[in-house]
Symmetry: C2
Subunit: 516 residues, 2 copies
């Protein structure tokens, strides 16, 4: 890892923003098609008799706005990415839970501020008033409070719903996956927090999307810094959200907003400006602990001490070189109460890629959310991270595309072909023998398929082996085993087939010639 090699500080990009980065063509095409279908639907609504629909279908055949089907190839890639991520969670002893796709509307009320308008409501069909979940964090907090759970380490991978106006060409949808890992419980300072960072590193390493950097900061330090600079306490949150814009806007604009809209004096704004341009590691923490203004502020020093301990644990976990203490990191959500972090992919400049690809994970500590659901306001401290899996799917798709590799949507080992007519029973018999030996096997559902068509199917679907069965082979108790890629064929005794096949499949996997 060596992000220090790249231009620094790069223009920082939040997850919200990175969802806007233009991706590759297939998505653009999909969006254009969807736009046209939307227009067609509108036209039909306006002029219902102008379309050529028949009795079978009086509406445009499409998925709802902002949603999509996932094809077998997309699903294969997603499942492969998600299973790698899940393995990391399991390595750290996490359990998984699931919650309903909808919640009582009241559960979501008052948790998302202005964004509440993006919540999908269900129709009132004479029962409870329900809404689709907007994220996985609020249902998690509801689950903890409802079941009086005071400590748990869990992951949850599921779809969430937002009535946004998404730009699908840019990879944003109204239905999308979230992938959250959280540790709830009353523990000692920075121990669960540092494991979250370790987990993000393991995930990004296992997906081989390096280089990346994990920026960290602390809400107490931000608050203490504001206080020390002379920001009135009532303005802390709104100044925080101004700072949060630094990843999209230059300092001058943010400064202007703080002065003209948020009412800070030029002097106070400039003091803040001096701090938020700082980033570094333990040396910077030590420098700030001796800073004239901050060293006198309890809030700031407690934040700095926490960061210092976090960096120490990151060092033990061998990830310190991937972590950057960055005072401009603010993160939008109000509910954070301690450490905050965000992982950003950096393009490989040696390959001429853009220096920044975008945010792929983010999170922090939120000690007061669960209490909002408890009648006695009992708190359960939490820290967690959300892995930006949609963004990672896209990055992995691009990587495969760049390497001209195709995703296999099945895992079939061998295809059983016949070379002559009227051998369907023999084909079924051999398939059954192979299934019973635990091989993944396909065959044609045509009674008398052409040999060429069968072999072509193998090539198109990257099936590594074909078995060819003819009258003479059956008589001799052998089969022809064909390597689909090299087209080499050998005769194998039928009794030896499972053994031979197992050996050859193992060879293929060792040599890594089977894609994905």
């Amino acid at each position: 890892m060596g992000f220090q090699k790249f231009l620094w500080p790069p223009k920082l990009i939040t997850r919200a923003m990175c969802r806007n980065i233009t991706l590759f063509r297939p998505l653009q095409i999909a969006e254009e098609v969807n736009k046209l279908l939307d227009l067609k639907a509108q036209a039909q609504a306006t002029f219902p008799n102008t379309d050529d629909v028949n009795v079978n279908q009086k509406f445009t055949l499409k998925t709802p706005k902002g949603t999509r089907d996932y094809s077998p190839e997309q699903m294969a890639l997603r499942n492969s990415v998600l299973s790698k991520i899940t393995e990391v969670f399991k390595k750290h002893g996490a359990v998984t839970i699931d919650t309903p796709v909808f919640e009582l509307k009241e559960v979501l009320t008052g948790k998302y501020g202005e964004d509440s308008k993006l919540i999908y409501d269900l129709a009132d069909q004479g029962g409870e008033i329900l809404s689709l979940r907007y994220d996985l964090t609020v249902p998690f907090a509801r689950y903890l409070a409802m079941n009086k759970i005071t400590n748990i380490k869990r992951y949850h991978i599921a779809k969430v719903y937002r009535r946004d106006n998404p730009s699908m060409a840019r990879g944003r949808y109204r239905e999308f996956y979230q992938c959250d890992f959280d540790i709830a419980g009353t523990y000692d300072l920075m121990l669960p927090d540092s494991e979250c960072i370790k987990i993000v590193c393991e995930i990004l390493d296992t997906l081989e999307v390096t280089p990346y950097v994990i920026k960290i900061n602390h809400r107490s330090l931000l608050d203490g810094m504001f206080e020390a600079c002379g920001v009135p306490a009532s303005s802390f949150r709104c100044i925080c959200s101004a700072i949060d814009k630094l990843d999209k806007s230059p300092w001058d604009e943010v400064r202007k907003e703080m002065i003209e809209e948020k009412g800070l004096s030029e002097e106070v704004a400039d003091k803040i400006g001096e701090y938020v341009k700082l980033h570094g590691n333990t040396d910077l923490v030590d420098k700030l602990l001796n800073d004239d203004l901050l060293s006198k502020n309890k809030c700031a020093t407690s934040g700095l001490e926490a960061i210092k301990l976090l960096l120490k644990y990151c060092n033990i976990f061998n990830v310190a070189d991937r972590v950057l203490f960055d005072l401009s990191l603010a993160r939008g959500l109000d509910y954070y109460t301690g450490v905050i972090y965000e992982a950003v992919l950096l393009g490989d400049s040696t390959k001429g890629e853009d220096v920044l690809v975008g945010s792929v994970a983010g999170g922090g500590r939120y000690d007061n959310l669960v209490g909002m659901f408890d009648t006695k306001n009992k708190q359960v401290p939490c820290v967690g991270v959300s892995i930006g899996v949609e963004r990672l799917f896209t990055v992995m798709e691009q990587k495969l595309h760049a390497a001209s590799r195709k995703v296999r949507s099945t895992e079939v080992d061998v295809y059983v072909c016949t070379a002559q007519k009227d051998l369907v029973d023999e084909r079924l018999k051999l398939c059954n023998e192979l299934w019973e030996n635990n091989f993944k096997v396909e065959y044609s559902y045509k009674k008398n398929p052409k040999l060429l068509a069968q072999l072509q199917y193998c090539e198109e679907n990257s099936i590594p082996f074909a078995i060819i069965l003819g009258q003479s082979e059956i008589k001799e108790g052998i089969v022809k085993l064909r390597n689909v890629l090299t087209r080499d064929e050998i005769a194998v005794k039928r009794t030896k087939l499972p053994e031979e096949l197992l050996k050859r499949l193992a060879d293929l996997n060792i040599n890594g010639t089977v894609p994905i």
Copy 2:
């Protein structure tokens, strides 16, 4: 397999009915709790000031009616069952797809008959009119028509939604999983159909829920039989749905319904009665092919020929002894056009279990559904099966419960403990070494946890190994490796730890002493 050993014909049970069978106590308790919460919510709505809620939470903390959270233990069991099922689908070369949780309402309209009233609608928030999916078959047909796919073999495991009045004590919910496998494409007679049956057998065998029987029948045979008995063509479907009730009602009641409500003569009803009590195998098919009435009916003979071929393929696939040709099997859905089947679990009477446990899979051929979505009414023939995974989850839970086995909700290999104070850094260091060697490792998030508390955690969570680290071990470059179950401890050189741990974990798995 030997269902012949049991009482036959047993009272047949459909999937719809088996969802009503009373299950075990935890679910009953859950329902009682939910009823009380419902009452509390009603009371609050009526007398809003009588409850002791505070500012933080003005509503009853619950999941929506008919839904539930899944705990870590439930999720572990579900994921284990689903991954075994998925392996079988993959063995047969199936791909997977996903579709949005909601569809344009029009997509669902006219597909479910009377049950349409159970569809969940989304609120009209100024866009398209949407509904939650009711099953996975209609979205699959929509997907095929929309993408002009004429052949695919896919599975789809996802939640569906029905505004039923579910009895949760009986395992019925408004949000539940479906697990569908379908083969679409124009192929030769009974080839894909028999593979569906083979797949159901492999799934039930791998889950070890034997004994079971797969009942089969054919819509053409039913239609031909009705015609031959003198039922007017316009009454075929409604007589079919009367026959479908034979699994819940005795013949006398069904006969009465056919005569008094459906207008059949007594003579016609009694002719039908003679047929629907028949069940057997190829011998029965041959007998019916020579039957006076049926042998003259084209529809009936084509159905019988199809069944005969299916039984032949089932024989090649080595599952013929698990298949029963049963003329009373009708299945409710209108859209079936060919073979229909249903798998029923039989209790083990030697163990004093009920003879019938219920239906766990069902399906059939539906050649006309995709055409309903195509503007040109282009058909894509389909055959498929839906695995009753919710029912299977319950059966597996009962089996574990009966065997007094606990489900592990994590897969942690080893827990790193310290025996003295101020060793947190050493614990983290060792954890990191083990993670880097790909072990699943946990440790306490307390800085100075008590040794007893750490070891207790291991026992409570069935973690097989604990490592104990103290000042003297660190100095000597060793660790104490403890078998949590036997409480045996040995000293291991730290450099040899990964090797030793790997060996001992492998031993555990071989001996099968680690639960699940």
